[in-house]
């Protein structure tokens, strides 16, 4: 169960907005977290709190393949990202490294900034505690669930090579 305050973003939030290239001289999560979403909202790193969620519109994470983007979000303690849709590489990256993400039109339509949101990872049910509403997320494909269960992509490779 994940619970936190919602931060709202619009369409096509690109990876340069999530973590600008000027910070790509490191891949350290704590360093990257200091600048998360900075070019979309300069105050975001200081006003967000661990456990908070991001709720965005379509095509979240478009642009570069940099894994620094989900690393920065996870490093900052964002519990999950809900969007109308995700860019494909960001989608893969999030699952591969265990950042929970959900696609939900309803949540994208109805959640306002500051709403208290609770997400049930298994059922994909999103509760808006502030507005007393409930939304559905698109189910996570079984293949992806398996990836999460085995602890991410590298853990499943570890099993494969028996190291």
């Amino acid at each position: 169960m994940m619970k936190g305050k919602a931060h709202i973003f619009g369409d096509d939030i690109d990876t340069d907005a999530i973590i600008p290239a000027r910070y790509l001289i490191t891949s350290d999560p704590d360093e990257l977290a200091k600048h998360v979403m900075e070019d979309a909202d300069p105050d975001f790193p200081s006003k967000m709190q661990r456990g908070d969620l991001i709720v965005a519109q379509k095509n979240f994470g478009c642009g570069s393949s940099r894994e620094h983007a989900p690393i920065a979000i996870k490093g900052a303690g964002i519990s999950c990202v809900i969007a109308r849709s995700f860019a494909r590489i960001f989608y893969r990256n999030a699952f591969n490294m265990g950042l929970p993400i959900f696609e939900s039109d309803e949540a994208a339509d109805k959640v306002s900034a500051g709403d208290e949101i609770e997400v049930d990872m298994d059922s994909g049910v999103i509760k808006n505690l502030t507005k007393n509403e409930e939304y559905r997320a698109a189910p996570i494909p079984p293949f992806m669930q398996e990836l999460i269960r085995s602890g991410g992509l590298m853990e499943s490779v570890r099993k494969k090579i028996g190291s």
């Binding site: 690109d14 001289i25 891949s27 095509n59 478009c62 642009g63 393949s65 894994e67 590489i89 992509l153």
Partner: protein, 420 residues
């Protein structure tokens, strides 16, 4: 039911007869690529699971291009970290220093990737190689790390949008105008999770460099890949260059498409993408008066020989406008040296351009041309997101090399017609 070229390449690499959109498959990869930004994370993942050897030292390619030559101490350390890994693993294709160039230029140029390949790359513009009739898609560092160890990667078979390019491209139209026009039409998520496939008689008028540009920007429409069928132009490029045997796949006549979109060559005019999305396009006649501080001819999109040649020919005997910085970045050492031998660099320098060594440089706001607050740039690169080339208060306009040359001379975004 027939299959598309993308479905055929995926099926062949999964070792199955046929695949359908939506199938989740595990594929053998021919080439696995990473750069100085994405390789460090992949290598840490490799170490974390105690992997000992890459699956094939000839098939893992590491190119130092983003912040190379190192722009500061931290990026120097990243490059050194990758170089040490390359040495330990005896990686055949490790490029740095004098061999450094933009990854998506040098892989085809050196014949490391070719028709029929399945290429995985920890860089979103890996889709460039679709120009040769390969399936090539960008992923993140963790996917790449898994592929480096196992030689395999998982894919969801995408649906395909077929773009029929018809007729002859109008005057000045190059690959960049075609792809900007398409992205303007369908949007930055217009092909999300999908394959973009090209067919039609216009293709025989498009050079291999034009096709690289078109495939390169598939990701700017959200696509997984952007693919052409090989023809005589492809074969001429590949023969004597590709280090393995090419396999030429063709879509079946009864292949199923999600959507078909027709583009007529004569409806096109040079395109410019306004800030801050590649889809925010206008024809050059609708641009109005936009003065710029910087013009960049560079990146994996438009800095191949023919791009530099076009710019040099247009600018020959003219001068870069006062107060405009024109930065030209040949995207590989081979292009740099050919442009030098053929006098193109001299023409450009005489006109007042700055020539940079082959690097990604300002394309992602790394170095060699960072924008100040309030500055505007017209560039042949692929992304004009907020802050992509420097200050978040700067503006980026994307266009092809002909518009870039004209803009450098006039100091405002201009059609090449204005300077001939």
């Amino acid at each position: 039911m027939g299959m598309t070229i993308t479905e055929k390449i995926l099926a062949a690499h999964a070792g199955v007869e046929s695949v359908r959109p939506g199938d989740l498959i595990n594929c053998r990869v021919d080439i696995a690529l990473a750069n100085d930004i994405t390789a460090p994370i992949a290598i840490r993942n490799f170490r974390k699971i105690n992997a000992k050897k890459v699956f094939d030292r000839d098939k893992v390619v590491l190119v130092m291009d983003h912040f190379a030559p190192a722009k500061d101490i931290a990026s120097a350390n990243q490059i050194k970290f990758v170089a040490e890994f390359a040495e330990e693993q005896e990686i055949t294709h490790f490029y740095d220093g004098a061999e450094m160039g933009v990854e998506h230029t040098i892989l085809p140029e050196k014949g490391i990737v070719g028709p029929g390949d399945l290429v995985i790359g920890a860089d979103s513009h890996t889709c460039t190689y679709g120009a040769l009739g390969a399936f090539a898609a960008g992923v993140g560092s963790t996917d790449l790390a898994a592929a480096m160890v196992t030689g395999e990667a998982w894919y969801k078979v995408p649906e395909t949008i077929l773009f029929e390019l018809k007729g002859k491209p109008a005057k000045w139209i190059c690959g960049k105008d075609i792809i900007l026009y398409i992205i303007g039409m369908i949007g930055v998520d217009g092909a999300l999770y999908k394959s973009m496939e090209y067919s039609g008689d216009m293709i025989s008028h498009l050079s291999i460099d034009d096709r690289f540009t078109i495939s390169n920007m598939a990701v700017e429409a959200g696509a997984k890949n952007g693919i052409f069928h090989a023809d005589d132009i492809t074969k001429e490029y590949v023969e004597g260059r590709f280090q393995r045997e090419p396999v030429y796949y063709e879509s079946d006549a009864d292949a199923e498409y999600f959507q078909r979109i027709v583009i007529n060559g004569d409806e096109l005019e040079p395109q410019v993408a306004f800030p801050h999305l590649p889809s925010n396009t206008r024809g050059i006649s609708e641009v109005g008066e936009v003065r710029v501080n910087q013009v960049v001819v560079g990146s994996c999109t438009n800095a191949r020989y023919s791009d530099i040649e076009l710019v040099a020919n247009l600018i020959k005997g003219k001068k870069v406008a006062k107060k405009v910085r024109m930065i030209v970045i040949p995207s590989s050492p081979a292009i740099y040296s050919r442009a030098m031998k053929n006098g193109l660099l001299e023409i450009l320098i005489d006109a007042g351009a700055i020539i940079s060594p082959p690097t990604c440089g300002p394309c992602l706001g790394g170095h060699m041309g960072i924008l100040a607050d309030g500055e505007k740039a017209l560039t042949t690169t692929n992304r004009n997101f907020v802050g992509r080339m420097g200050s978040t208060k700067s503006e980026i306009y994307l266009a092809g090399p002909a518009v870039a040359a004209a803009t450098a001379v006039t100091g405002k975004i201009s059609s090449p017609e204005e300077i001939v």
